[in-house]
């Protein structure tokens, strides 16, 4: 009997001990004022043709902030069981996606949407996520941590973990000048991540080299690629019957190759606007006519970003082109001036594909400054 009581007590003690380990303990804070705070401003180079970048006045780019942001981006410490980082779903090799239709979060749980590419995101101004629910990068970085199908963690616990982490204490001090580790907050963490993301600039594709005359070779584009460009931009100079793709209406915006429009791109057949399985923008605005609308993503590095669409339903660019050539499924909120039966020939589709491949910028995905610092 005594043995049983002892065992039961032991088990109880064990349970409490486990509970404590699961929840990081807040500390009294560590004085950091002995660590030098001399942030180095980061000089951002805006490529030719690009608009100015939206940098909040309270979050200027510094080398220390960017370095911290990069670590936080790739560190699974942000997730409940230290298995998922931002980089898990946004890896550089896949143009900062995970090349999966739906991304697995903590415990392998799947979300409902494909991970968006993070590329030139610092230039965007019409909302983040497929439905635009976050107004800027700082706000965007808040979301995935507490999403149960992504990192499934609580920001309160992340803050404690970061405050208890000697290396992060130093890095937060160097980036933001905090005096005590208890000043490490989600606000500073997301600012750092946003700083890193603002450095993820791609402007060195074959298309850039031609468009912005970075390469003097007049034959840089093949005839096939040139024809594809014309279809993409509807640039046919009135040639009768010449093919048009209407692509740039949603995927131009200058060098960003996204108009940031929220549109129903006719991929889902519905009986009425109320019937979209994922309402997209409509779930946010409550407007029926916004149902089924999602943000048009940038087509930069699109060849590296498969699968495609907000739910990753298309595995290849050929399937995407086929969809748009057919016109997809009519609904009352489809922009039928662009999304309509295009009757593209096999050659037109081949040309369009060739042009899309000129948007690949391998120097971006291979940039050492963008890789996982823990590898």
């Amino acid at each position: 009997m005594k043995k049983l009581t002892f065992l039961a007590l032991l088990a109880l003690v064990g349970m409490f001990a486990c509970k404590d380990d699961d929840n990081p303990k807040p500390s009294d804070g560590v004085d950091l004022t002995n660590i030098a705070y001399n942030p180095t401003p980061h000089e951002l180079v805006i490529p030719p043709g690009f608009p100015s970048m939206n940098i909040p006045a309270d979050n200027p780019l510094t080398e220390q902030g960017i370095d911290l942001g990069r670590r936080l981006f790739y560190d699974p410490i942000l997730s409940k069981d230290s298995t998922v980082s931002c980089g898990s779903c946004h890896g550089p090799a896949g143009n900062f996606t995970d090349n999966k239709a739906l991304s697995p979060g903590v415990g392998g749980l799947l979300g409902t949407r494909s991970s968006m590419a993070i590329i030139n995101s610092g230039f965007l101004s019409k909302g983040m996520f497929w439905d635009g629910r976050a107004p800027h990068l700082e706000a965007q970085a808040l979301g995935p941590v507490e999403n149960p199908v992504e990192m499934a963690e609580k920001w309160d616990d992340v803050e404690v973990k970061l405050r208890n982490h000697a290396d992060y204490r130093t890095r937060f001090r160097k980036a933001f000048g905090i005096e005590n580790s208890n000043e490490i907050t989600r606000d500073l963490a997301t600012r750092a991540i946003a700083q890193f993301e603002r450095t993820l600039i791609s402007a060195n594709s074959k298309y850039d080299r031609k468009k912005y005359q970075l390469d003097p070779d007049p034959f840089l584009f093949s005839d096939l690629e040139t024809d594809g460009l014309k279809i993409y931009f509807d640039d046919q100079f009135g040639a009768p019957g010449a093919p048009v793709g209407h692509c740039a209406h949603c995927h131009d915006g200058g060098p960003l190759l996204t108009s940031e429009r929220y549109e129903n791109n006719a991929i889902t057949e519905v009986a009425s606007l109320a019937d979209f399985p994922d309402k997209g923008l409509g779930a946010l605005t409550g407007k029926l006519t916004d149902n089924g609308k999602f943000k048009a993503p940038s087509l930069r590095n699109i060849a590296l970003s498969a699968p495609y669409m907000h739910d990753g339903r298309f595995q290849t660019l050929e399937q995407v082109i086929e969809h748009y050539s057919s016109g997809g499924h009519y609904a009352d909120n489809v922009i039928t001036g662009s999304i309509t039966n295009l009757n593209l020939s096999a050659y037109d589709k081949q040309a369009l594909l060739a042009f899309l491949n000129t948007l690949t910028d391998t120097t971006f995905v291979n940039n050492p400054a963008f890789q996982n610092p823990f590898h």
Partner: protein, 259 residues
């Protein structure tokens, strides 16, 4: 003693030239704009009757207005209210939204008598060809760069009007009807509009200037409506579409009115 008096006099004179007395008297101008279709509030996704009797429906209507200027009368010089603004009626999906004007408030406008308002529909060449990398984050052209910059023209799209025309005449819209996207831009499409009306700005006062943009009137010239059943008229996006572009932009003088 005389010197002291002179010193005081100079002092008083200098003090009297202070900021308060040198300030130009100013007033406020509230520019309000509504969009209508044939006089009726323009509700997106709502069907309207086109002059040929067919149904038409819009889902996007927005445009840049620039060099918004009050035209001075007599001794009153012209007063520019704003370099560029963006008017957007695309989110008006209810009657209440369509009846609520978009408003811009301009403060510190010099008082005086003005004979009207002048503005451009579109973006002046100086801005249209400017380096977007130098635009402040809150500049209207920067805010709408992604949605409205058309790199093939190296120009902003000045006006977006998008919708669908009931091609088969069956009284409802479907995939076989004619969608249209009219996106005029380029420097040569810039259109100046002048509306004459007496405007008197009294010091400290507010003047409400109410403009109405009638979308139907952009599609009608000399009583003839653009043939929306013609696929050639469904899009303005190629360099060769300049004639259609100029047709649409040329109708803005009649499309914009003061109420």
């Amino acid at each position: 003693m005389k010197k002291l008096l002179l010193f005081l006099l100079v002092g008083i004179t200098v003090a009297s030239c202070g900021d308060d007395d040198m300030k130009t008297p100013v007033a406020s101008v509230h520019l309000n704009m509504r969009a209508v279709y044939d006089g009726q509030p323009l509700v997106m996704y709502q069907a309207y009757t086109y002059p040929d009797g067919s149904l038409v429906r819009f889902q996007t209507f927005n445009f840049f207005i620039s060099n918004i200027t009050l035209l001075g009368e007599g001794d009153t010089p012209d007063a520019e209210l704003s370099e560029v603004e963006f008017a957007d009626f695309s989110n008006n999906t209810t009657l209440a939204e369509a009846e609520t004007p978009q408003a811009w408030h301009f403060e510190e406008v010099p008082t005086g008598t003005y004979r009207g308002i002048q503005l451009n529909i579109g973006v002046p060449a100086s801005l249209n060809n400017a380096d977007a990398g130098n635009l402040d984050a809150d500049h209207p052209l920067r805010q709408h760069f992604t949605t409205h910059f058309w790199s093939d023209w190296k120009s902003f799209i000045f006006v977006k009007s998008e919708g669908i025309y009931d091609l088969d005449g069956n009284g409802e819209f479907n995939g076989s009807d004619q969608g249209f996207e009219h996106h005029p831009g380029k420097d040569e499409a810039l259109t100046q509009v002048t509306k004459l009306m007496p405007i008197t700005l009294a010091e400290g006062g507010t003047f409400d200037l109410n403009l109405v943009a009638d979308l139907l009137k952009i599609y009608v010239k000399n009583g003839d409506a653009l043939d929306l059943s013609d696929p050639e008229n469904s899009n303005v996006q190629q360099a060769s579409d300049l004639p259609l572009m100029l047709y649409l932009m040329g109708n803005w003088e009649q499309a914009l009115s003061v109420e």
